[in-house]
């Protein structure tokens, strides 16, 4: 067991799966000889050869399209979209094909593909290197959407995703590739070393899909969140001293509703935190689910702390990012509601 960054953990998951299953193939822009712009596939082409790990043309629709065809053949393709902001050209193949083929053929054909994409901001990437499009995926029946918040989960969830017979979109919050980020961008960067969740077994293991994690138990209120925002929420909890229960959803959809309902039933208060734009974001669905299942336990309105409904600006990045101050203020407001 070694301490790994999230990049190393993802690479390890890919390595394990390439080794175990001949049908696993990996492709995407710059993932071959170079090993990916974030280095997640570094060394894998050398180890497994060019027909298992290879570069593709710059055509996201083509990447997902050939993945669907390969899956129909019997492979388990793992495709990389270089940034989630560039997945729109692949949207049709994801929505109309990967997500639908099992249904429309009544199980005759399936699409067990995994599509990895780095997402989220906090790296001065501006509007085209910062997006969190999860709500555009959770609305699509037939797709699974997953987002890890730490190296251990990243590896275990990625292996589970590749082994899953459904199409899985695996969103990688790039801001925490190299260390947990609590949203205090003006403080020194923290590495993963020393963080318990960076202890990652070398071999095969899975973190089951559709299972949330209680990242921090608590009694005062429930925070529902995922990805980078788990660490931001933790900072806010630490700084406000409010004994919040932080739930890391991990699988966004289909999701582990029981864990959510149990927690809010217990605490009676709920704050939802995500980086994506607010309107019709996944926080809207979480709000709806909580109020549908816990209405009579709610002592205060559910609050959403999210990115603003604007593109992700470059220069005003930290005014956009829902950092610990904004989360903390929401926690306090919700606690102060009688």
């Amino acid at each position: 067991m070694a301490s790994m960054t999230m990049i190393q953990a993802i690479r390890s998951a890919l390595d394990v799966m390439l080794e175990r299953d001949d049908n696993v193939v990996i492709f995407g822009q710059d993932v071959g000889f170079f090993g990916g712009v974030f280095r997640c596939t570094d060394g894998l082409q050398k180890k497994y050869g060019t027909s298992r790990v290879f570069d593709t043309p710059i055509a996201e629709g083509g990447i997902v399209g050939v993945a669907v065809g390969m899956a129909a053949y019997g492979l388990r393709p793992v495709a990389e979209i270089q940034f989630a902001d560039y997945f729109y050209p692949a949207y049709d193949q994801l929505v109309s094909e990967a997500a639908r083929v099992r249904y429309r053929s009544a199980g005759d054909f399936t699409a067990p593909i995994t599509v990895r994409m780095p997402c989220g901001g906090g790296i001065y990437g501006g509007q085209t290197h910062s997006q969190s499009p999860e709500a555009l995926l959770t609305h699509v029946c037939g797709l699974r959407t997953v987002m890890p918040s730490n190296p251990y989960d990243a590896k275990g969830l990625l292996i589970a995703s590749i082994e899953c017979d459904d199409p899985v979109i695996f969103l990688e919050p790039k801001r925490i590739y190299n260390g947990p980020f609590d949203g205090h961008h003006d403080k020194p960067v923290v590495p993963w070393t020393g963080v318990p969740q960076s202890e990652v077994p070398d071999g095969h293991y899975t973190v089951p899909l559709e299972s949330a994690a209680i990242f921090r138990p608590g009694t005062a209120l429930t925070v529902l969140t995922y990805g980078t925002m788990v660490w931001v929420a933790e900072a806010a909890v630490r700084e406000t001293g409010i004994d919040a229960e932080i739930i890391d959803l991990r699988s966004l959809w289909p999701m582990d509703l029981d864990t959510v309902v149990d927690s809010v039933t217990k605490t009676g208060r709920c704050v939802i935190v995500h980086e994506a734009t607010r309107t019709s974001g996944f926080g809207a669905e979480l709000t709806a689910l909580v109020q549908e299942h816990c209405f009579f336990h709610l002592e205060a309105p559910i609050e959403r702390v999210t990115g603003w409904d604007t593109p992700y600006p470059h220069a005003q990045e930290w005014a956009y990012f829902p950092g610990p101050e904004r989360v903390g203020a929401a926690l306090r407001r919700v606690m102060e509601t009688a």
């Binding site: 027909s51 043309p57 065809g69 390969m70 492979l75 393709p77 094909e97 083929v101 429309r104 005759d108």
Partner: protein, 410 residues
Amino acid sequence: MSQCSPLKLHVPEPTGRPGRETDFSYLNLSPAGAVRRPAIDTPPLATVDVADALVRVLDDDGHAVGPWDPKADPQLLVAGLRAMLKTRSFDARMVVAQRQKKISFYMQSLGEEAICIGQVLALEPDDMCFPTYRQQGILIARGYGLVDMMCQLLSNDRDPVKGRQMPVMYSSRRHGFFSVSGNLGTQYVQAVGWAMASAIKGDTRIASAWIGDGATAEADFHSALTFASVYRAPVILNIVNNQWAISSFQGIAGGEAATFAAHGVGNGIASLRVDGNDFLAVLATSRWAAERARCGFGPTLIEWVTYRGGAHSTSDDPSKYRPADDWQRFPLGDPVARLKLHLLATGALTDDQCTRMQQEVDEEVVAAQKEAESYGSLASGHVHDASTMFDDVYRDVPAHLVRQRAQQQA
């Protein structure tokens, strides 16, 4: 800089419209037997002349001429004719069934039957086809049950796809027939992916991709050609140019300025332009492309020149946008008549045998229809139970769909 007059938007117009006969000279036909047959390992760019001509084998008297004569086993051709007749008979009855409101919708392949049936006879049974909604001939040629097809059309509770899809969107993995999508073009690049997978696994199977002239404008067409070219995927990229999308003619899809086959050459893919109503030309060029793919020389793109004999679908009325007798005047004729003429001319079939064959296929279709209708239909309410609606969204039914199913059943 020279002085120029104001610019003007060019909007292509077909040569014919209701009340004005089509001038088919735009088709640019070659005489039967005139086009050369390149070596199977020819470099892609060396096919540029073939992509601009028209491979034809059958002359006007039904004789096979020139280098592309497939010298086919007459029994194979007879089997091809039978599949074509069956497809046409099937289509004709289903169009009527739709008019009778027994089925909700239909799309026939009238006039285009030779193309997919000829190709399938050039493929191995385990080669995979990625069809559009107009390649029912593949299923018929590969022996998929007519009753199963009709149960799908009737959306009854024997529909193999459980009523999920509109009629004609068949799926049969066992018959190498990928689930037809309602979204145009998506299957084209999937076929390339399937072919890449076969190459990755060191298999010998190849893929056959299908698209219409209109849908070549879609993004997935470009992705398919790019990926097929880059990875030399073992795939046949078929473009069925039946001259029409719905109401827009092939010029609106780019056919005015270049042939559709030229797209292949532009992407470094060997390309042929072929008379799609000439069964022997279809067979010969499909064999060429299949062998090329299987031997590792990469993809072939084939533009099949044909004509959509019927309406786009049962929701369409082509007399609104093209001359009513256009098909009769189409210079490449009727593929069924032309193959029949050849088989009669070569003595492989007699007139009597032809008549008998027609009777047999008609009877088979009628019997199948009778049986299929006995299982009920959407109209009669004999559909898969509503509770099945929640299956197959995922491999297992997740908690939220268990809840929704319970609500639906309540």
